[in-house]
Symmetry: C2
Subunit: 388 residues, 2 copies
Amino acid sequence: MMANLHIATCQAPVNIAVVKYWGKRDEKLMLPVNDSISVTLSTDDLCTTTSIAASQLFKEDKLVLNGKVEPTNSPRIQNCLKSIQEAARNSGKSPVDPSWRLQICSKNNFPTSAGLASSAAGYACLVATLQALYKLEGNFSSVARKGSGSACRSMFGGFVRWRKGDKSDGSDSVAIQIAPASHWPEIRVIICVANDARKDTGSTSGMQRSVETSDLLRYRAEAIVPRRCDAMEMAILTRDFESFARLTMMDSNQLHAVCQDTYPPIRYMNQISWDIVSLVHRYNELVGANKLAYTFDAGPNAFLFCLDDDIPEVLQILKQAFPSNESDYIKGIYTTATAKTTPRSDELAKRVEPAPAESLKYMITTKIGNGPHEIQQHLCDSKGNTIP
Amino acid sequence: MMANLHIATCQAPVNIAVVKYWGKRDEKLMLPVNDSISVTLSTDDLCTTTSIAASQLFKEDKLVLNGKVEPTNSPRIQNCLKSIQEAARNSGKSPVDPSWRLQICSKNNFPTSAGLASSAAGYACLVATLQALYKLEGNFSSVARKGSGSACRSMFGGFVRWRKGDKSDGSDSVAIQIAPASHWPEIRVIICVANDARKDTGSTSGMQRSVETSDLLRYRAEAIVPRRCDAMEMAILTRDFESFARLTMMDSNQLHAVCQDTYPPIRYMNQISWDIVSLVHRYNELVGANKLAYTFDAGPNAFLFCLDDDIPEVLQILKQAFPSNESDYIKGIYTTATAKTTPRSDELAKRVEPAPAESLKYMITTKIGNGPHEIQQHLCDSKGNTIP
């Protein structure tokens, strides 16, 4: 074994906002114009794994992302590294000298082609692994935020609120846990991955353009989101799915309304996205309650929420409305076999014209999970080299 | 000739809003939540023609719309009839007794299948023809408004502002002319009629749902539209096409943003609409100025504005991006022969992938025109019967 080699490995989750983050008040420090609330998805189905090896023998920092060597000098990565290394120096108790060079190896367990925002899980995992390496305790979500704004929310499991903060140095712009995953374990998440190669406007440049040109964005941030975040927190704390679903859908719609109000306008939702929106509202109308909810980020993929009892019916309805011949069409904790015909799914099938086959690439079924955690299976060997 | 038969015939124009009307503060009186501004289109290409015959021998009111007998007892029609007949009684100078029954015959010179809002031209024509019949002078736009809100704007030619008014009886909610068509005769309008059979949410129920559920609508109406209307009026008065185009596009986008912020969300713009939006922004980017502008109402059809000098290039670009094999693809004041290749149209053709053929049904090319006017060719004969 290499002298003085230290190594730590963590897994960190993806999160999906139910009250959206859209717009920064400080581009460099990644300070948002409003609070946001997210749910953390189970790392069983979607996660980033990162190993970091530190040794005084390493000549330089090295980063391998999904098997590909990437530069380490991006401001986002450097901001994270420097903040944590400074904290390690200040703690004086770290077993690893913060001046040692690092070999960082990171990979996702989901296809990057899915268009699922992986940067939140990625930066949360980087920060969590650095915390583990340097043995630092505490809330480091504001450091993850400097990598990618929404990464701060992936530093906790369950239901998370990112407080926008008021200070200009961003020290109070942190994520806090509203409730752990165990508080409401019945919630299920279905990610509908759209078959669409179109290149979207990136979220960073998109939100920048919205801040510069949308009159509605500021009103949303100042007058609407504070109330909505409080209502959402209450819906979560009282496990009120009806309100959780309504607020989630309204806030997703408002994010995309702000994108349309941007000049030139930004469009993330395509025909398939709108077919899903329409299906969800028709289903809820038929049921007479909000049993299913959608939310969309900066892309056409839908994130659906429902309760575990309704999963067989909901999967059946999705299968009927978005047919596919792929054998592995439903991935994650449920499979195609879970889908079950019910009188309601039959009724809806009669009313809804199915989308063209393969409109969706696949669906990932998952649930709400915990925050970053350390694991013992490293991605690099005892010399710090990536395990192929 | 039938004893005491009086007959009058008018033509009235379609108008297209450049600052949008979306939301009523009074459903019955058709009072809007904000001012709006429109341009009136030439009746040469798009108009309603209405003849009204009055005789003491008629037993009952009769209405024939586009060759089909329709009931006359709808509140919208009755509101218009009663208001004008009361004014005729009060004037005391009308050659026609306001208690005589009417035979109303009305038709559009454009296909109703085009999905162009014909109710504005229709109610403006009804009111203008009643004015002609009863020989009433003055601004009767508030009466047209009771038929269909935006009809009040079709009571004038050129550039028109509908003042929302403040009074609860709606008497100050009237249209006024900003400038006649002759003020800026170079403006051209291209209506791109989308090939899409989808049934949209009607604008009446759509705006009602927006008023009830969209937080952004109220802010738009109170804080944004007043400023925008003043800026638009200034752009028109100074013939500043750059600003006219920018404000037109921004306000169209904001209308559709409010629709998306409605719950459940309303979607009028489809893939073809967005392809047009994208093409317009790419063209303007290439030119380095806003030479072309789009606006969308409660449907997927685009209304484009440009100046007459740019028409050959713009038509060429539209033909390339939205190919069609229809011989009569470009209707109105220009034809396919007007389209001319330029270095810029060549450049754009290289960058833009054409939409599938026949994505657009056809285009109507027109210009800004005058308000309602009386004509002598009646749609009904000397007995008051419809001429087939």
